[in-house]
């Protein structure tokens, strides 16, 4: 089928402003969602390779979905609002640890006031969402400097959040319920009495989260707030002079972004790792998320998914390939080669298309439209 808009007339603005105004895009999305929501569970159910083994679900799809969600959050801040952040790992951690605290019961003895704050263990879903909310509050706090600090200076400054929270969760035993090693275990995943335990259940859970948030995020970025963010990103002075308040725009971006990242952090901890330590949310995680959005395409929700896939899955493929092909290489060599090839692919991709996969796709679509003429 050809990719043509011709003949697709819009008769209302609402239609013109739909998420995917083009028919073919809608079909593609429907197919994708169909595969994700129905195809994968079916395949897994019938043990069809490679879905039969847990590996694909647990070690690839699960982290992919969760990190894609986090990447959407990062993309809102970095891609849409132009505030480069290297503190995403910290916001994931905030989400994870506050969800943990809320899920296991909070007790703050205020001895000098003569009473204590006690919150009983909350249901998992609620604690995950509240974990996101806590992350949003922290995000706003660490977003305040962005009113003054810009660009790379801001990026480095956000590392303050990263290292500070690494330290807090390591040092303040209260957050880990005084576990001797500082490593904590997620509460059992009980959703309205439904225990989410098997890989496929976990997958579905994450898929629902990701889909919902992706749609909400997409709505936001193409609405008024999204335009404000992008205006701040592209030309902050002009934005201010046409009546956009930088304070509001930047802080909402920090809040929304951190909320999503926080939820992703809670999912990462609860659903993927099950048991974790602050190192799970280290600076490497922050960098990884940033890579995802740059490679995927700044300012593109779709790009966040592709970026996540590229950064997360490609190295695994590269790592698997020699064993699959039976090339006799030592693990050491394989890993070093993996680094070299992965790095080269990043460079190659950027040279081909400096704006990442999202742009590559939109150019591809443009080509399709022109097809069979080259221009």
């Amino acid at each position: 089928m050809l990719y043509r808009e011709a003949g697709q007339f819009k008769t209302t603005y609402a239609e013109d402003m739909a998420i995917f105004p083009i028919h073919q895009d809608r079909i593609a999305l429907a197919i994708l969602l169909g595969i994700a929501f129905i195809g994968v569970p079916l395949l897994a159910d019938f043990d069809i390779w490679p879905f039969g083994s847990d590996y694909l679900l647990r070690a690839i799809l699960l982290p992919f979905l969760i990190l894609a969600l986090a990447a959407i959050g990062v993309n809102i801040l970095v891609g849409y609002c132009g505030q480069i952040s290297l503190g995403s790992g910290a916001f994931m951690a905030v989400g994870a640890y506050s969800a943990y605290k809320l899920g296991t019961g909070v007790h703050i003895p205020l001895a000098w006031l003569g009473f204590a704050i006690s919150i009983p263990p909350l249901p998992v879903l609620l604690s995950i969402l509240l974990g996101g909310l806590t992350a949003a509050v922290v995000g706003i706090l660490f977003g305040i400097p962005s009113l003054r600090i810009k660009g790379l200076y801001l990026a480095v400054a956000t590392l303050a959040a990263q290292f500070f929270f690494d330290w807090v969760f390591l040092r303040v035993a209260w957050f880990t319920n005084y576990a001797p090693s500082g490593s904590v275990n997620a509460p059992t995943l009980d959703f309205f009495g439904l225990n989410v335990g098997t890989p496929i259940e976990r997958y579905m859970l994450c898929l629902i989260f990701v889909t919902v948030f992706a749609f909400l995020a997409k709505n936001l970025v193409r609405g008024n707030l999204g335009r404000q963010w992008m205006a701040i990103r592209d030309m902050d002075i002009a934005a201010e002079l046409i009546g956009i308040r930088p304070l509001y725009a930047k802080l909402t971006a920090f809040a929304v972004s951190s909320f999503i990242i926080g939820v992703a952090g809670a999912l990462w901890a609860f659903v993927y790792l099950g048991s974790w330590e602050p190192l799970a949310f280290s600076i490497e995680r922050s960098l990884q998320l940033l890579f995802m959005v740059i490679i995927g395409g700044l300012g593109s929700i779709m790009g966040s998914f592709i970026g996540a896939a590229f950064i997360l899955i490609l190295p695994i493929m590269l790592n698997l390939l020699p064993t699959q092909l039976g090339v006799p290489l030592s693990t050491e060599t394989i890993t070093h080669l993996e680094f070299i090839i992965f790095g080269s692919l990043i460079c190659y991709l950027l040279i081909k298309e400096p704006h990442g996969f999202a742009r590559l796709i939109s150019i591809g679509k443009e080509k399709l439209r022109l097809w069979p003429f080259p221009y």
């Binding site: 400096p354 443009e366 221009y375």
Partner: protein, 282 residues
Amino acid sequence: MPKASTPKASTATEAAAPFLSVNNIEVVYSHVILVLKGVSLDVPRGGIVALLGANGAGKTTTLKAVSNLLHAERGEVTKGSILFDGVEVQSLSPSELVRRGCIQVMEGRRCFAHLTVEENLLTGAFTRRDGKSAIAQDLERVYTYFPRLRERRGSTAGYTSGGEQQMCTIGRALMSRPKMILLDEPSMGLAPQIVGEIFEIVKDLNVKEGVSFLLAEQNTNMALKYASHGYILENGRVVMDGEARALAANEDVKEFYLGIAGDKRKSFRDVKHYKRRKRWLA
């Protein structure tokens, strides 16, 4: 692409090969956006050639193709060739081109924002090897051309006014002692008497030092007054070309580019108010 429809400038009086010749080039941005659809033009040695045309016609693109700056914008010349002084431009780096005497003044006041005005001017002399005093002399000359720059020589270029930045970019190009200048909208944002001065400088350099010019300009009036030749670009194609005087006399040019109908300039207040309203959606 209809090369035939764009006959080459036929100033056959000049036997020598043109200093710059652009032959039927096609330029594509980002692999999909076709902007120039077969543009050909010549600049004779010591000539001033004007490149005219509406917004988006492709003037800037043509100049960038000549100075080989397109790839930095993800554009490429997919067809045709450009010869500067007999050498294929594509085979030279931008800096080599400057060294050989071909420099572009980019549109949009591209100063080095963090450098002072004087430092900006001095970067223009980067390729020169003829010693400090010669450079100092030229600096002096630029300051004579643009006294306003002398006043602001120590200021950070990013904070100077639009016109000052424009002078700065032009002055910077002059500092390289070029043989051929590709001037992109030199008059933009300059006060009327400075515009006049710029064209005087162009003439001056052309007459005294034999510098050739390819001039992309919206101020058709001025451009055709000073140029020997003109090309009119529309939608990536040369639609008309010829001697400047002949062009200026052409009725269409008069009407569309010079705004002279009959022989009187029309007031901007009396622009026709015909409505081209077409409803897009019901």
